[in-house]
Structure formats: C-alpha cells, structure tokens
C-alpha cells in the first residue's frame, strides 16, 4: 500500500471538537459555566474511516492569572469524539478567570488509586488489565485502500518516562464560548508514514503520539455571548 498516495487523497484535517461553552448568569449569586461539546467532524475523504475516537479529559482547572479559582469536582470526562456530549461546569458568579487548564489522559495518582467509578470504571473499556493503567485516548479505523488496512492506537502510560499524560492550557474569557479541537491528523500521518498500524501499550512512541495530539489541540472562540 502506498501510504503517501493515500495521504494525498486525504483532505487535510480530522478534527474532533468539543465546544467549551461558558456563560455567566449575571443576576444570580451562582454563575453557571457550561462546557459544551460540539463534535465538528471535519471532512475526510473516503481514504480513511474512523471507527473509534475516545479520549479522557481530566482535572479541569480555571485560573485567574496564577491563582486557581475553580477546580472541576469530576475527576475525569470520557468523551466519545464521534458522538460528543457537552461538558458543563458550575463556577461561582464572582469568580473571575482567564485561563483553563486540563489533561489529555489520566494522571499517575488516579492511575494507582485502585478501582474507581463513573467514567473511570474499568468497564468503560479504557483500562489495561494486563498492565494497570488507563488508556488516555483511542483512535481506531481503517485505511480504505485496496488492502483495507486497519489501524488501532491505544495511547496511555502514567509512570516515569512512559508517562503519556498531556497538560494543556488556553486563555479563555467567561463571556465567550469555545471549541476545543483535537486534530488527530498529524499523529495519524506520523504513524502511517512509518507503517505503524498498531500501538497498544505504554511506550516512548506513545508519549510522542500523545505530544503530537496535544500540540495540535486548539481552543477556538466560537461566539461572544455578551451580545446575546
């Protein structure tokens, strides 16, 4: 299979989007902030079909400059990026913030904490039973070429040099709504160029792929809510 030819046929981006939606309820004592997911399936031609794209987003924190003003009580959000639901936060009205920070993946203290519930329940299919630890994200699909080459990337690892967790932060304004866009294409291109079709254990290459995803994650202002 000629991967390069395949690439040429791929229209550039595979983006998975989550809309970060925040709105201050000015009249109330408690302002409510919403994180709204809005999967924006960017155009892929028929060369690649994505069958699974799930990701852990964890430890959301809101800062006013260096000061932590709000921490998400929900440890982890497991997002199906092929069918995402919004994430919402309730932040007190008087809290001013200008930056949001979160992780792609599950941190080491959570990874060693034993059995957990909710989105961290091992029944969710994002836990490695043979080597304890969460899968930070999964990307699976098929190259729709003559060979019908499937690919599976389960990226995780929490310890030492194999720690694949990625912390990202973006400047945000409480009056705006944002879309977090996860662009998997650079990671996918990197793997396919090396004919790496499977990667399903903690390893240095997994850390590299996690970085590629993190570097290609953006936070886009969608709409100014103050005019609404």
């Amino acid at each position: 299979m000629n991967v390069r030819v395949c690439f040429k046929k791929i229209i550039l981006l595979f983006l998975c989007c989550i809309t970060l939606y925040s709105k201050a309820a000015a009249q109330s004592q408690k302002a409510t902030f919403f994180l709204q997911t809005d999967f924006d399936q960017l155009y892929l031609n028929d060369s690649i079909k994505i069958s699974k794209c799930v990701i852990y987003l964890t430890n959301f924190k809101f800062y006013n400059h260096a000061e932590l003003v709000f921490k998400d009580t929900n440890q982890a959000h497991l997002i199906d990026l092929l069918d995402p639901s919004p994430i919402q936060f309730n932040i007190p009205a008087n809290q001013v913030y200008n930056r949001v920070e979160f992780n792609i993946g599950v941190d080491s203290s959570t990874s060693v904490a034993g059995i957990l519930t909710g989105d961290l329940d091992p029944r969710k299919g994002m836990y490695w039973a043979w080597q304890s630890g969460y899968i930070n994200f999964k990307l699976e699909g098929i190259l729709n070429t003559k060979a019908q080459q499937p690919f599976q990337y389960h990226i995780g690892g929490y310890a030492g040099k194999l720690n694949a967790i990625q912390t990202i932060s973006f400047e945000v304004n409480p009056n705006n709504k944002y879309t977090l866009s996860f662009n998997f294409l650079p990671m996918l291109q990197y793997c396919l160029a090396q004919k790496q079709f499977e990667l399903m254990s903690p390893q240095l290459k997994a850390v590299q792929l996690a970085k590629l995803l993190s570097e290609n994650t953006t936070c886009i202002k969608v709409q100014n809510l103050s005019n609404e």
Partner: protein
C-alpha cells in the same frame, strides 16, 4: 429509670449485636510493619469478605466456567500452584509464568512477577482477562454474576441492594485477598518470644541473615523490590521481567522478590518454575555474586552443611495455621449448599 425499660434497651443492644454482620478488622501481626493497603477506602465487612471468598473459588470468573482463582492458587499450598512450573488456564492453555504463593498482600504496592499491577483492587482483572488464563472480560463476568440469584442475595446482604458493579465486585475480592495473612509460623513465635529456634535453625537463621536477607527481608521475607539473580533467560519464554513494564534497561531480567514464607509448599520455584526442589534453589545460590537494585554487591558462598542449616531455618517459615485456616478454604457451605438452594 424503670428497670423494665433498662432491660429492654439492653436486650435491644444485644440483639442488634448478634443480628448485625460481624465486622472484621484487619489485625496487624505484632512483628509486621504498617500495611500499604488503604483500608479506609474499603472497610472490612464479613459479608463482603464472604463474597470475595465465594468469587475466589468460583469458576464463573472464567470464560468456559472451568477455572477459578483457586485453580492456580490453592489454599493448602500457600495459594501457589504446586507442581506446575507454568500454570494452565482454560482449555489447557499454558501460561507465561509460575503462579506465586499469595500471602500478606496488604503489604505490597504492586503485584505479579514484573509489578504490572499497581493496586490489589485491580489484580483480579489480570488473570480474568488474560487469554491464557480465564480469557474473560469484566463486562461479561458482571453480566453472569448479575444473573445469579445467589450472588444477588450476597450483594444485597453486603451492600444493601442487588447492584453488582465493578467497584463492589473488585473490592469484595480484595477483602478476601487481604485475609490471606501468614504470620503464625515458628519464626513468628520466636520473634514474638513464644518459642525458640533449635540450634540448627539458629545457625540457619544466621546464614540467612548474612546471605539472603538483603532481598528476602524480614518479616515479609521479601524486600518488595525487583531484583535479578543471574538466572539465564529461558530461550522460549524470553521473559525480561520488570523491563517489560518500565522499558528501562536497568530493569532487565529483574523480577519481584518472592516471599520465602511457606516455601516448603510453594514449589516449583522462580518466575518460570524452573527449579522443582528447594535444594535446586540452594544449589543455584551456593556460589554466586549478585548486584541488587540499589547497587549492593552480594557474594554468597554456601557449603553443604550450611545449606542443611539454612533449610532447617526456612522450614520455620511454614505456617500450619495459615495453610489449614478454614476461613480461607473453599466455602463449601456457601458455594455448594446455599448456592444450590438458591439456583
């Protein structure tokens, strides 16, 4: 206060005490350090321990309902798989490593020969899902258990309702695993001042302290670390030990140091069960130089008489009370009688 009222209150208190399930506390053996397991997260309850015990002995956990945890971890042999170098799972599939004895798990922070499992609560998932062992998956096992009236009743008794979640399932198994404590060997009686070593055992103890105790540290008889003991890599298994997990070259062919407690019962020995007899193990160590994980160089030289004395000491680590503890054995009444009645 009216005597009748007092009598009634006392009667009520006693009745509740007898009706309420017995709460089991984890009692730390006097000569042991503080355990590592977080008991606050999973407080002991006799009903939950019962569930864990039933599940441990129940082949319902395997794909074809033929293999239970106890198939490879028999209580009469310190929960090891005696006479099997490598354990076999369903359909006679031969595993990758020797099934080690299970005991004193509350003091461990990681499990398996390579430390792949980072919390006791998650340990059961490894054999449960391994293709060579039970070849199941958590969702399907929970579906099976949720269909069982027997287990529904047990979970209702323990947790107040019939919900059998992964959290309750794994915590219950963990509660039983935490009961597997061996601390009543002759060695412990000596340490607690209730017995004395024979002169041969005493000689053996000194030989042990000089040559073995760095890795097999008292009182658990393991330093809980990953060490290498100059065993050549089996060309078929190609097992690189801890390096498989950390991918650090310095962890190459390092394996978790097994406890020596009940060693007379846990043969065959080593991660791949290559030595069937204790004398084979001592033969391996009779003239050897080792470098430990903290870079200590150890030279061991044992003559024939020393090996005999050392063996005498090692036999003081046999814990009959533990080996034949009915509370850890197959729960005949629970799994056979009650279950049959229920299903």
């Amino acid at each position: 206060m009216n005597k009748g009222v007092v009598f009634f209150i006392l009667l009520s208190v006693f009745s509740v005490a007898f009706i309420a399930p017995l709460e089991s506390e984890f009692i730390k053996p006097a000569n042991f350090p503080k355990p590592k397991y977080n008991f606050q997260k999973n407080p002991f309850d006799s009903n939950k321990i019962n569930i864990g015990r039933a599940l441990f002995y129940d082949p319902i956990l395997s794909k074809d309902t033929t293999i239970s945890c106890a198939s490879c971890h028999s209580n009469y042999t310190a929960f090891a798989h005696v006479d099997h170098a490598l354990s076999h799972g369903i359909a006679d599939r031969i595993g990758f490593r020797n099934a080690p004895g299970l005991m004193n798990l509350a003091w461990h922070e990681n499990f398996m020969w390579d430390g792949a499992i980072n919390n006791l609560e998650m340990q059961a998932l490894a054999p449960l899902t391994n293709h060579l062992e039970m070849d199941e998956n958590l969702n399907h096992v929970l579906e099976k258990i949720n269909r069982s009236i027997f287990y529904k009743n047990l979970f209702k008794q323990a947790y107040g309702d019939e919900v059998i979640s992964s959290d309750r399932f794994l915590k219950s198994i963990t509660q039983f695993l935490l009961q597997i404590v061996s601390a009543s060997a002759k060695y412990d009686s000596v340490k607690n001042g209730n017995a004395t070593f024979t002169s041969q055992e005493n000689k053996g103890y000194h030989i042990f302290k000089k040559n073995c105790a760095t890795c097999h540290a008292e009182p658990l008889f393991t330093n809980l670390k990953f060490e290498q003991n100059n065993l050549p890599v089996d060309p078929n298994l190609k097992d690189m030990g801890r390096m498989r997990i950390t991918q650090n070259a310095q962890d190459s062919i390092r394996f978790k140091v097994p406890t020596l407690r009940n060693i007379a019962f846990t043969f065959p020995y080593m991660h791949d069960g290559r030595f069937s007899k204790l004398q084979d193990v001592l033969h391996h160590y009779e003239n050897i130089e080792l470098v430990t994980s903290n870079h200590t160089r150890i030279k061991i030289k044992l003559n024939k008489a020393e090996k005999v004395d050392l063996t005498a000491f090692l036999l003081t680590l046999t814990d009959q009370k533990f080996l034949f503890n009915p509370a850890l054995a197959f729960p005949k009444e629970l799994l056979l009688l009650n279950r049959r009645k229920n299903e």
